[in-house]
């Protein structure tokens, strides 16, 4: 295709395609990625995507850590929704250990996961608007995200690097005033949601930039392994929470919004609707959850209480073994997948029966999205790259690992 363009250009008017380096640090792309664009005027005729600027060697790093010590590293995958990574990883290890977590833990994971999704979508929508010069919408969205992060901070103690997940449970129970905090934040977030609709959804400039750009067909999306809002915008109603329920998603009522045209505007609308669905899931969860234990009672997985560690040899030994040798995960391999912020977040884990992972592979949706993004860009205007790259929502930490 690119060659055809070049041939045509050469024949008609004597001009040459221009090579433009966009990124890796570009003010209008949130995410560290480099595009080498070949331009015919303002039309992109070829886009080369180069990822890897945020590579930390996550997968190799955790091979030298115990299963538990991997949590802080998962925080830094999709750093806008770290809790989803925490829980996704914990779920994979629990699958290999064949242990169940208590109901309350599942509810907490559902709630905190949906809060993270709110933060992820709000960031994506706000930043997208910002990059199209809609500073006002961005400030509203980020205000909403701050409200979410305040709650996250109250629960986990940190805003981004939460390390809240544990194998067989979570770090702590929700604080007592969680319901109140949520009610306050919830009202404001729904307000912001309505305001954003007013500001953007029927905004002529916004529509011109979003509608009909970055178009993706369902076949393409499936062929390239796209998931999450990007896939759903094309009309394919695949959501891991619905199709392969985990945590408590089969006990709450929610719909999976889908688009029809697979363009940037549809992806925007899908995310907007998912905000509402997430709020509804959290409401239902808070209603249904009951007090109870938050951690598994398996002594080979859970650390004993400090009281027992310091006062009984049994607790001391258990603490010692889990901390210094790690949780002994039986040999085997497992693929476990959850709905992350931008799509199916999968952990493929191999254990050789020791306290440290033999191999951890992350199926990060962003990386897979980056594999086909050049097809969305080629043939479009250079200015369309901005909304397309935004609604695909590439997160460098997750993509480059």
């Amino acid at each position: 295709m690119a060659q055809d363009f070049i041939d045509t250009i050469d024949q008609d008017i004597h001009s040459e395609p221009m090579i433009l380096q966009m990124g890796p640090s570009h003010p209008a792309t949130h995410g560290t990625v480099r595009f080498t664009l070949t331009l015919d005027g303002e039309t992109i005729i070829k886009a080369d995507t180069e990822v890897g600027y945020l590579h930390r060697g996550f997968e190799k790093e955790v091979e030298n850590k115990t299963w538990t010590q991997a949590f802080p590293y998962t925080d830094r995958l999709n750093y806008v929704s770290p809790l989803l990574n925490n829980f996704g990883y914990a779920l994979a290890v629990e699958k290999l250990l064949e242990i169940e977590v208590p109901d309350r833990c599942d509810w907490i994971r559902t709630i905190m996961g949906e809060l993270s999704r709110l933060s992820d979508h709000l960031t994506c929508l706000g930043a997208g608007a910002l990059e199209l010069n809609a500073m006002t919408a961005f400030l509203y969205a980020i205000e909403g995200r701050e409200l979410v992060w305040d709650i996250v901070e109250a629960v986990t103690g940190a805003r981004m690097t939460v390390s809240y997940g544990r194998i067989g449970g979570v770090k702590d129970d929700l604080p007592e005033n969680f319901g109140e905090m949520w009610q306050k934040a919830r009202a404001r977030i729904l307000d912001i949601h309505a305001t954003t609709h007013k500001l953007l959804s029927r905004n002529r400039i916004f529509l011109d930039r979003m509608e009909g750009t970055g178009v993706l067909t369902p076949d393409q999306a499936i062929a390239w392994g796209y998931t999450g809002p990007t896939l759903r915008s094309t009309g394919v109603a695949y959501d891991v929470r619905k199709d392969h329920p985990y945590f408590k998603y089969n006990e709450v009522d929610f719909t999976v919004p889908v688009g029809t045209r697979g363009d940037n505007y549809d992806r925007y609308l899908v995310r907007m609707e998912e905000l509402v669905q997430s709020v509804s899931i959290i409401d239902q969860a808070l209603e249904k959850m009951e007090p109870g234990p938050i951690n598994t009672d398996d002594p080979r997985v859970m650390l004993p209480e400090k009281q027992k560690v310091y006062n009984s040899i049994e607790g001391m030994i258990a603490h010692f073994k889990i901390v210094f040798e790690g949780i002994q995960v039986p040999a085997g391999e497992v693929y476990s997948y959850t709905e992350g912020g931008c799509g199916e977040l999968g952990f493929y884990i191999v254990s050789n029966g020791t306290g440290k992972p033999w191999k951890v592979h992350v199926r990060s949706p962003s990386f897979i999205h980056m594999g086909g993004i050049h097809k969305l860009l080629e043939g479009s205007m250079i200015s369309d790259l901005i909304p397309t790259f935004d609604t695909i929502n590439m997160i460098g930490g997750e993509c480059d690992r």
């Binding site: 040899i313 049994e314 607790g315 001391m316 030994i317 010692f320």
Partner: protein, 580 residues
């Protein structure tokens, strides 16, 4: 041989095998505290209880021998229940010591609790308090509270060393391990009791509070304490050796090693020099190579290579020694005099300690195919006295002489035209008097081979990179030889290992050939002798026959022709093999 079924797996084992060993052969580990493969089985810990079909009670697996057709369950509910009970019982009085216990991390009690018990304590009473940090011997500290009374240490002292210092005193939950009155746990192998102790009751004073065991990396190595070459785990942390532990090898040291050897690891880090030196000034390897070459060249020009003494170290590996041999043959024209230094002989016993305190004297023998061309240290001193040696190139600082003899030797060294020291230690005055000092590295910092007293070549592995600028002796020899115009090209150790014993191999081949030739010769001689005897016998017989024939011809002339024919036929008959 008896057939046993363990957890559904049938195995055929030797008569007299214990259930525990039979289970191990079937692939099932049975937990145990008091059982040790090299010691007797008192079956007092009750940890190895297994279920045997037909037996009313659970049986201790370490003590009971198998019968033909025995059906054993090591993982049944009853067994698990018993193990839980045993562990709960042992832990009743166990102190919360893990954070301050040297054994934590390699403690069987920790392992088994987590693997088989993992339940909370039901103990509500105060724990029984016993003696803490009791100095049971000069090298060992005993902790009565941690002790689970398995008696492994007591049996070790009875059955392996035969010194019997230890026993149990008092009864019930007041029982403790103690020495007999007037004794202390002080034998040449006492630190092995720390190894056999399944918990942290006996701890080595040397290793106490030095390093947490989960930080250690273990490298398979060989002890350099004497020519026995006990196999060891060389445990190190951050480029420093923290301890030796014996490594099981039934051909050499079984499960044990002596205390003296165990503590030789300290020499790896003590008294080192880590930078090449020329007349006391630290220089680089780049600079020192040519200096050595020039100085050796001047000595050779002035007095000939035969005025140089190359002193070999029995502490060096076979690879190092082989390069020393090549260095001697090329750079020193094969004319320099060879000597050997090394530690003076020391204590010897019938278990593992050998008198020669050097790990590789047999290696020198193997590389040079005998010690005929190599002088002793006494020879070196004598030659120095005679003033025939002008320069000494010495590997290692271990000298078999002390006090006055050593001072006399140092005095000789002072008077030399050139003294090159290639060693890991400063050796006190030796480094001061060295015109050239080349830092070699220890056996922990390189790979290599030692040949032990029984002629067994044993490999040792590298634990960490050489300290400072030191390097293996073989590389130093290669460097110096290259500067002297002789290229010795070895990149990998295996290239040396293929060749290092070739002198011995050639010698053995030559001996074999000579032996075969000698045998052949002896056989031929024996044949020739037999032949000659047979000929002589036949001749005698023929002569007799002739004499009889003559007599006959005298009697009957008509038979004379026949007799003549018979006589001529004798020549042909000789060709025939003898009747027997």
């Amino acid at each position: 041989m008896p057939m046993v079924t363990v957890n559904g797996v049938e195995v055929e084992v030797d008569r007299g095998t214990s259930i525990l060993q039979a289970a191990a052969q079937a692939g099932f580990a049975v937990p145990h505290f008091c059982y040790h493969p090299a010691l007797s089985s008192p079956a007092n810990c009750r940890m190895c209880l297994v279920e045997v079909e037909g037996a009313r009670k659970l049986l201790p697996g370490c003590y009971n021998e198998v019968n033909d057709g025995m059906i054993v369950h090591t993982e049944s509910e009853r067994v698990h229940h018993a193990r839980k009970a045993v562990l709960e019982f042992i832990l009743v009085n166990h102190p919360v010591d893990c954070p301050i216990c040297d054994k934590a991390g390699e403690c069987k009690l920790q392992d088994y609790y987590f693997a088989y018990d993992a339940q909370e304590s039901r103990m509500r009473a105060e724990k029984q308090h016993k003696v803490k940090a009791y100095p049971i011997g000069p090298k060992i500290v005993y902790d009565g509270e941690r002790c689970i009374l398995c008696t492994r240490c007591i049996r070790f002292c009875e059955e392996i060393t035969g010194t019997s210092e230890l026993t149990l005193i008092d009864r019930g939950d007041k029982t403790e391990v103690r020495t007999f009155p007037g004794m202390e746990l002080d034998n040449d192998y006492s630190l092995c009791t720390v190894d056999v102790c399944p918990v942290g009751a006996l701890t080595s004073r040397d290793f106490r509070f030095k390093c947490r065991v989960w930080l250690l990396t273990s490298t398979e190595s060989v002890c350099t304490g004497c020519e026995m070459g006990c196999n060891v785990h060389l445990d190190h942390f951050r480029n420093e050796v923290q301890r030796y532990r014996p490594r099981y090898n039934p051909e050499v040291n079984d499960y044990w090693m002596c205390d003296e050897g165990r503590l030789t690891y300290t020499s790896i880090h003590e008294d080192r020099f880590l930078q090449p030196m020329s007349n006391g000034a630290e220089v680089t390897w780049h600079a020192i190579g040519q200096t050595v070459a020039d100085k050796l060249g001047r000595v050779i020009d002035a007095h000939g290579a035969s005025s140089i003494a190359l002193v070999l170290s029995p502490q060096a590996s076979c690879e190092d020694l082989y390069l020393a041999k090549l260095f001697h043959e090329s750079a020193l024209a094969g004319e320099a005099n060879l000597y050997v230094n090394g530690h003076a002989p020391g204590k010897e016993d019938e278990l593992l300690m050998r008198a020669d305190k050097n790990p590789n004297r047999r290696g020198i023998e193997a590389v040079w195919a005998g010690m005929e061309t190599i002088g002793s240290f006494d020879n070196l001193v004598a030659d120095l006295d005679n003033n025939t040696i002008k320069a000494v190139y010495m590997m290692g600082t271990e000298l078999p002489v002390a006090d006055e003899a050593r001072e006399a030797f140092i005095k000789h060294i002072e008077e030399l035209e050139l003294f090159v020291l290639q060693a890991m230690h400063t050796g006190g005055e030796l480094l001061e008097h060295a015109h050239i000092a080349l830092p070699a590295c220890s056996h922990a910092e390189k790979e290599g081979t030692f040949v032990n007293v029984e002629g067994l070549a044993q490999a040792f592995n590298q634990a960490f990179a050489p300290h400072g600028d030191s390097m293996p002796d073989w590389q130093i020899f290669m460097r110096i030889a290259r500067k002297m115009g002789h290229t010795l090209s070895f990149t990998f150790l295996h290239q040396i290992q293929e060749k290092m014993f070739e002198a011995t191999v050639l010698k053995q081949e030559a001996e074999e050939k000579a032996r075969q030739e000698a045998e052949e010769k002896a056989r031929q001689e024996a044949e020739a002798k037999a032949e000659a005897e047979r000929l002589a016998a036949e001749e005698a017989a023929a002569a007799e026959a002739k004499a009889q024939a003559d007599e006959a011809s005298d009697e009957d002339a008509s038979s004379a022709d026949d007799a003549a024919e018979e006589e001529s036929g004798d020549g042909e008959a000789d060709e025939q093999p003898p009747a027997e």
